[in-house]
Symmetry: C2
Subunit: 451 residues, 2 copies
């Protein structure tokens, strides 16, 4: 067998990395999973041309390619193994353009979500998708998984924030998709098709993203404490039903709350305390919060409210510390179920029932404003135990029975592939596979992921 | 040759229509175009099963199928000609479910946009896409073209309002796409791919659509009069740049304004008067309108302002009368260019230049809040004269040179096919064609449209 890394280095030079530590790191991501072996090499692309050269090479040698950003994914989508070539876009980290008049930015795929936010803030603008990983995850990774975050109930997910993409296809060719305009319907919407495709159709190297005006005034934030998770979920449903539109509405169940408090060295919360955080922004923030306050109290919550932005951010920081708090407890299988918003109380009740049935603790947080739950299954060791898979399967089926879906914002990767057909059905899955073949006839793009 | 309509009638009964007047009507839509001959038959589907039967039949006989809703399209996408079978979804007009708690509705494809709006209003909700045709166009047609309207700068286009679809594929099989949840990323986003595909991939028979809470309070509406269209366009850009978010911002140029006034029997506007209508909604409507008022006056406009909802609606009614006013003048080729918002002044200047170069009048309105312009080319007779095509081509190329696109919200149909490759480039167009082949290997779905 030819020494492929050496051949590729002859074309690309030092951006081809074969350092064992780097190869070892590419075996895993934030899913807690690890592939069974290290990849062949990593291309740390510095230019779009590097990505094109790497894919032309891979195509010629039928070498499987694993696209990778910061490796912050939660489902194993960027995990690489033996005889695979990792193409990393994390060094493609230029903000090419910030256009305040058109409220858009052009960014390379490796720009960190939070860095973009900080760059556009002086223009009075923000980039709406705000995954909990925003300090460490790239825009390219956000696009690969159609990432959400705390603000999507009001401001939409990544798909709503992307106007156009530059993509390198499996054969190394470059494709420009979409527009700099906010509207456009010239043929099939391949931009939307690419978003959430988890590196199976090509590698996003650049994106034109939509920015929104920062809301005026300070947000109003409520922290409501319940003693019953179903009551807390019902309260979030009541707030939606009252046609309020919180910018963020986050539920933290008792197990999650006590784990976070421990992790952050905060005082231990009262036993069985469940927290619902609700933040309103814009001109009606105070008035909306007042209405929500009355609803929450009516439903039995202890509620604290602030119209101070920093104090509100401190309240939300509790939620943002969830993933680190879980990671500190062992290996974690993070679910990402979404249900219709009114089904949130039924779904949290199901989680409790599955906890009891399996004798497990399943700390759970939810983006309650859009019915997206993250139950966390904790275990020890490198391999997910069969029982944990079984409980996860039960959770997924409960969500499906409530009209829900397997993944709201993390994607399928390797972790959720086993359930994909159950949700999509065989005909749709076949159709999706055939569309993938149009983009990638040799099947070299992120094989074993999603499909 | 077999008597295909008779064979199909044997399967479907009276929903197979061969009445000459009905066949004649199916030759055209609101594009002002007409196909060169009448189709074979029309299936006026009463059930989803009717659509499936029709497509199974067409598939077996390799009979081209033209999906049709209300025939309100503006680009010829629903026009049918000889040896084609029209499958109409306009009788599939049930609102299946309105779910206020989940802020969604399930509707059949033939439901009229405005009927859905009226049905959900008592729940305090609205369906955001509001094409000027909303009283006569169907949700299915809106989905086929990814329709926009007056409200999309703030509330998004049809793509942002659709959660899931039921689609009949070319072989008659039924496909369920998407979710009842507001988030979901299980595999490729085929729902988004279907939206704007103009009947080339399958026939949408049902949709789960997202509803939004009606804004509270009365809107504030401004009617600003300029004497220079470039100044009016610059004012709309200034309002966006001030990070205001109008619910609607509509520009009506002098030729359009005088035609509308004539059509509505309103007093003749002053010569060269250009109107910019700006409406704000929600809690900050009055305050936002105050800021906009100052900007507009600073830029030299005469401005009237109202915080009365009915008076505001009367102001917008002028804009909504544009298409009828044009249709009353003769045959119309309606362009649908979109440019980055800051390029709107440059684009209207280009339109003036092209008017002069060709010695034509090109009445123009624009959804100024999202840079989407509708220049109208008026001519006489059934066939678009070569000179009109040439002027339209110049308009398109001017938009493209400004970073714009061929069509913001009307789609490609037959009218804009000639320019599609120029915008997309050959590689993307090839990719789109191959994706179409996955859905429709025999090429029977709406042949000659888009591609």
């Amino acid at each position: 067998m030819a020494d492929l890394p050496a051949l590729l280095r002859a074309e690309l030079g030092d951006v081809v990395v074969t350092d064992p530590a780097a190869l070892e790191a590419a075996r895993s991501d934030y899913s807690g999973q690890r592939s069974d072996s290290a990849p062949l090499a990593i291309v740390e692309a510095r230019t779009v041309a590097d990505v094109q050269t790497a894919l032309r090479f891979a195509h010629a040698h039928r070498l499987p390619v694993v696209p990778r950003g910061a490796g912050a994914g939660l489902t194993g989508g960027a995990m690489a193994s033996a005889a695979q070539l990792v193409v990393s876009t994390s060094r493609l980290s230029s903000i090419v353009e910030i256009n305040a008049a058109d409220q858009l930015a052009v960014v390379q795929a490796g720009v960190l979500n939070a860095d973009l936010g900080r760059a556009v803030e002086p223009h009075g603008l923000f980039f709406a998708p705000d995954p909990a990983s925003r300090e460490i995850s790239t825009i390219g990774g956000n696009i690969a998984t159609n990432a959400g975050g705390l603000l999507c109930a009001k401001y939409g997910v990544t798909r709503e924030a992307v106007l156009g993409l530059t993509v390198v296809l499996a054969d190394g060719s470059l494709l420009e998709l979409g527009h700099r305009t906010v509207k456009g319907v010239t043929g099939l919407d391949l931009t939307a098709l690419m978003i959430g495709s988890e590196g199976t159709l090509g590698i996003v190297v650049e994106a034109t993203v939509r920015l929104l005006p920062l809301p005026t005034g300070d947000p109003a934030t409520l922290s409501a404490t319940f003693v019953d998770v179903v009551a807390a979920a019902a309260a979030s449903t009541a707030i939606t039903a009252a046609r309020l539109r919180p910018a963020a509405m986050e539920l933290i169940d008792a197990r999650a709350l006590s784990a976070i408090h421990e992790h952050l060295d905060l005082p231990t919360p009262a036993a069985e305390s469940v927290q619902l955080l609700v933040q309103f922004d814009g001109a009606s923030a105070g008035a909306d919060a007042g209405v929500a306050l009355a609803i929450l109290r009516e439903l039995g919550a202890q509620v604290a409210m602030t119209v101070d932005a920093e104090e509100g951010e401190r309240m939300l920081a509790v939620r943002r510390a969830f993933h680190p708090a879980m990671a500190a407890r062992g290996s974690v299988l993070i679910e990402d179920l979404a249900v219709p918003r009114s089904a949130l109380p039924a779904m949290v009740a199901q989680i409790r029932a599955i906890e009891e049935r399996f004798g497990l603790e399943i700390p759970t947080v939810a983006h309650a404003g859009d019915g997206n739950l993250h139950p966390n299954l904790i275990y020890t060791g490198d391999t997910v135990p069969a029982e944990i898979w079984e409980a996860a399967g039960e959770l997924f089926r409960a969500a499906l029975a409530l009209g829900g879906t397997l993944t709201g914002e993390h994607g399928v990767g390797t972790l959720k592939r086993r359930w994909l057909e159950e949700e999509l059905g065989t005909p749709q899955l076949d159709l999706q596979r055939r569309i993938k073949e149009v983009f990638d006839p040799l099947g070299i793009m992120n094989p074993g992921k999603v499909f």
